[in-house]
Structure formats: structure tokens, C-alpha cells
Subunit: 326 residues, 2 copies
């Protein structure tokens, strides 16, 4: 049998160029022999590898897997395979991207960028379709899917205000990351609107999105002369660190201090007390990012979209009215 005919018969797009019975016989033979297209050879010829690269901040961070799952499932359904690269281990982000490009990826999902990340320019230069997920770059130069960070903080702050809290503190995330900066901005705007803004804002910044860093920042917050009656953390990991800080200070949650988190990551409903938090639909976020990327691949000149997913407040046991005596 002749190679081109086989190629045509096996390609859905070119199948119409081949006699139906011949096509069927080829299909049958292919199945019988367990024949599989060599994607590398195909890619070499067509310039499309069927591979998508995903850069993750840390696969083991409990917030990321749902996003990855959303990305991978959607891409997989469209016939793509995903290469995941974890930035955690040493080696520059640039290098990772270059390695991915060397493997011929048709597009990239970046879940790692900082606000002024050099990688953005690098990607723009490479002319590769790229979308950002969860985190944004300052200039909005790349298409993105993220949660409404400011709106989410408003939800949390308004909830605490409604409970009667007047001294509300914030454990902010790293300010070089959009989620950290935007959630802090949202926190401050909400306080201002509630008429609760003060000269020395009750804000402490954590150096990383980790439980340990959250504990440190919360400890600083708790030594302020006017101690907050409620703390809203920039994410759930930080909020768990706040729990740790309260424990070491002998303070009870929510009796002494209410705590709210952000993300509704898995199992925060099982901690004690169950964490009040702002849910963002992480799986949907991943799926939307995949969809956006596929759109860019199909039409690289298309408009640069920025999707924002609506947050939702999940009230649990870690927030309550402040003590009357307080």
C-alpha cells in the first residue's frame, strides 16, 4: 500500500480524498497491526507537535492540582498532551521555557509569572501562543484567566464588617505576585469604603505563600498595640499559618480572632475550626485557560482576552462576631 494514501486515510481532514472502501481497509489494517502515528515525525513535517507546556509554581502546592487537572483534561480531549514543568527546583524559568520550545510545544500555559516577570517578554519574543493562569503580568501583555482578586477580598471584608468587626487585619501575600498585590489592594479599598481605614494599616506581608510565612506575618500582626479582632489572609495556606500563630499566642479562633482565607483549597473544611474562605473555581480556571490557549493557537492574531472568574464567599466556623468586651 502507498504511504500517502495511508496518511490521507488516517487523517480525518484528508480522508475525504480517498475512496471509502480503501479508507476502511486501511483503518482495519492499522487497527489490526496496532499501528500508531509517530507524532514526532508528523510534527517535524507539520510544525505542530500536539504538545502543550505547562509551567507550575509547585506541583505539590495543594492549590495547583485542580487547575492542572482542568487544563490537562480539556487539552487531552482536544488531542493534545501536556508536559508539566515545575519551577520549584533550581534552573531558571527561561531555561524551562526554552526546553519546552525545544520539544516543539504548540503553546504554553504559565501559572508562575510575577508582576514584572522577564519571562513575559521572552514569550512575546518567541511568538509562541501563551496564556497566563491565576497570576497576571503588570502590563496585561499576555492573555489570562484569573480569579477576581479584589472582588474576593471585598466579599471577605464585607462579611467581617457585617459581623461587627472594626479592627480587621490582613496577612498579605508576596507583593511581586499579582494575587498578593491585588488582594491587598482589594482589602484596603474595602476597608476604606467601610470607613474603617486607619493611619497604620493592620497589614503584614508574608514572604511566600506558605504556612510558615503566614505564621510569621500573623505573629507580627498580633503584637501590634491595637490587636485585630479579625484577620483575612491572602490565601488558605497563609490562613493556616494564622491558625498556627493564634495557637502559639494562646488565642482562640473565632472567639478571640476571626480568620478568613482565600481559594477554598481542598480540606480546609476539615480543619478546626472549618475555614471561612473565598472560593475560586480552580478547575474551571484551568479549563478556561486551555480553551483560551487553543483559541490563540487557532488564531494567534485574535484579541488578547482577559477572563476573570467570579469568587464566592464560603462561610464556615472561623469567623464570628467579635467579643462584646473586645
Amino acid at each position: 500500500m502507498h504511504p500517502s494514501t495511508v496518511s490521507r486515510a488516517l487523517s480525518p481532514a484528508m480522508k475525504h480524498l480517498v475512496a471509502a472502501d480503501v479508507a476502511n481497509r486501511i483503518q482495519a489494517a492499522a487497527n489490526a497491526l496496532g499501528y500508531r502515528l509517530n507524532m514526532a515525525a508528523k510534527g517535524l513535517r507539520t510544525g505542530r507537535s500536539g504538545l502543550i507546556g505547562v509551567l507550575a509554581p509547585d506541583i505539590a502546592d495543594p492549590g495547583f492540582p485542580p487547575v492542572l487537572s482542568g487544563i490537562a483534561d480539556h487539552l487531552h480531549a482536544q488531542g493534545y498532551a501536556t508536559i508539566v514543568a515545575d519551577v520549584g527546583s533550581e534552573g531558571s524559568e527561561q531555561d524551562l521555557v526554552d526546553r519546552l520550545i525545544a520539544h516543539g510545544v504548540d503553546g504554553l500555559v504559565l501559572a508562575t509569572v510575577t508582576l514584572d516577570d522577564a519571562i513575559v517578554t521572552h514569550c512575546l519574543d518567541s511568538a509562541l501562543p501563551v496564556v497566563l493562569v491565576n497570576r497576571l503580568d503588570r502590563g496585561a501583555r499576555l492573555p489570562s484567566v484569573a480569579g477576581d482578586d479584589e472582588g474576593g477580598m471585598r466579599l471577605a471584608v464585607d462579611h467581617l464588617v457585617a459581623l461587627g468587626h472594626k479592627r480587621i487585619g490582613h496577612v498579605a501575600g508576596p507583593q511581586e505576585i499579582s494575587t498578593g498585590a491585588r488582594r491587598r489592594a482589594g482589602f484596603e479599598a474595602s476597608l476604606r469604603e467601610a470607613g474603617l481605614a486607619t493611619r497604620n494599616a493592620l497589614v503584614e506581608t508574608a514572604s511566600a505563600y506558605t504556612r510558615a510565612a503566614g505564621r510569621e506575618a500573623a505573629l507580627r500582626l498580633l503584637t501590634r498595640k491595637s490587636r485585630p479582632t479579625a484577620i483575612v489572609a491572602a490565601n488558605d495556606l497563609l490562613a493556616l499559618g494564622v491558625y498556627d500563630a493564634l495557637a502559639t499566642r494562646g488565642l482562640a479562633c473565632p472567639d478571640d480572632v476571626s480568620v478568613a482565607g482565600h481559594n477554598d483549597m481542598p480540606f480546609v473544611d476539615m480543619v478546626s475550626p472549618p475555614l471561612t474562605t473565598v472560593r475560586i473555581a480552580q478547575r474551571d480556571m484551568g479549563e478556561a485557560a486551555a480553551r483560551l490557549l487553543l483559541g490563540r493557537i487557532a488564531n494567534p492574531a485574535g484579541s488578547r482576552e482577559h477572563l476573570m472568574l467570579p469568587p464566592r464567599l464560603i462561610i464556615r466556623g472561623s469567623t464570628a462576631a467579635p467579643r462584646p468586651a473586645s
Copy 2:
């Protein structure tokens, strides 16, 4: 410049065949132009893609990310990229493997196999280097890295026996998965050795490793005429389901019933009460699997190794001595 010379200069293995100054000039030029090898073309020629496939049961399952992280980091350090495929979504496992093979993967890590999985034969037939991680196949036909499931259960049961428990129940995992079957076997052997085996064993099997299935199984266990004073679950997710079941029955942990889990997945130290569990070093497991796979790739005829990682008991607040009255 001449392609072959460039190829030689850029390949560490062939560099010695080229004049040092020429090699350096080529390196410099390559860096300046931002030249990157096309892995697809290289793979086509050499038969090695630099890609490794990883089959995951469910990326979003909190137990898996640490394993994946261990695998990916180690492989990455050796110059490989990892394609992860999630079996969760529809589409047969065979199909996934075939797709991975179509992409030319140099090896496969399977974290999904059941005891009598057809995929094992399929992989054996394909002559592709494959290693199993966490779960084993019945015939031990593929090399593997897993925890010592029986030893882990012994640790948990002995701990409860030492506390004075006499009626110890088990929420078993799915019996078609090695972890489910072997942990159950370990549980029963340990009870027998402690002289606590009874006619109708206090064992209920969960249909899946989920919190909901754990709850159902625990509920069945709690309606037995002689209710257990302690329950050891086949994994932490199941143990959280046991917590749910106790809550719906109005029973307190550990006052009424002690609970032990397995795996020490992230944040089980934060639930209430903090879960006593058996820790398995999941990151190490992933790393060992990667190392084993690399060994198979280098020497496919090498001996079929089966690594077993030692478990460690982590005692927290969910286990205590039984009530004297009980």
C-alpha cells in the same frame, strides 16, 4: 558552517571529535542566535525523545502531587520532560498509553494499575521500559516502588493494641488495588498475631479511595452489633470519611472511637482531631521510581527490582485508650 560539525560540537558525547576552537565558536554562535536543538528531529533520528509518560489516577487527589513532584524533578534533572496523563477522565488506559507511545516516550511510570490490570500485559508487549509506583501488579511482572503496606498496617494496629483496644475495625480500600488488598491483609495478620482475630472480622470495604466511600463503609462498621472502639482506614481520605460517619452518628473521636489513617497526606495534621496515620515518603517514592525507570532505559535487560519504602507511624490526637466503661 557544516551541519555535521555543528551537531558534533553541540553534542557532549561527540564534542571530542571536533577541534576545541571550532567547538567554542559554534557554542558561542548558538548562544548568540538563541539556537535550540529540535528534540522532535533529534528523536526521529536517534529513537529517543527525551520524554517520559506518567499515568496518574487523578492529579487532583492530594496523595499524588508529591509523588509526581518527585518523579518530575528527578527526570528533569536528567534532561527528560514528563508528560502527565490523568486516567480520571473517560478514555481507556490502553488508549492513553498508546497516545504516549505515539509521542515517542522513552519510558512510562504507571501510578494507576490494578492488581490484574490488562495494561501490564500491554506494556510488557510494547517492550517499553515501565515502572509501577505505589501500586503493584499481582504477578510482580513489572519493576516497582511502593510503600510497605503490610508493615504500615502492623504499625497502626500495634499502636491501637498497645493503647488497650480489643475491638479494632478496618475500613479497607478497593480490593482490586494492591494497596487496598495488602493493607487489608496486613490488618488481618496483625490482629491474628495480637490474638484479637474474631469470627466475623470487623472489616468493611470502601468502593473507592474517597471521603464519601469511607463514610459509607464506616457507617456499616458502626452498625455492627459489637461496635469497634477503634477504626484503621486504608488511607487518609477514607479516614476523613470515618470522621464524617462518626459525626453523623454523634460519636466523638477519639473519646468514643479512635481513628488511624494511612499516607500522612498534606494537612491531616490540621484536621480535628489531628489524624494519627502511617507516613510514607511520597516524594522519595516518586524519585525512586524515576531512578528505577532511568535504570531500565539504560539497561532494559537488567533485573526487575521491587523497592519497598519503610513506613513510619505518626501519632496524633485521633487515637487514645478506649473508654474504661466500653
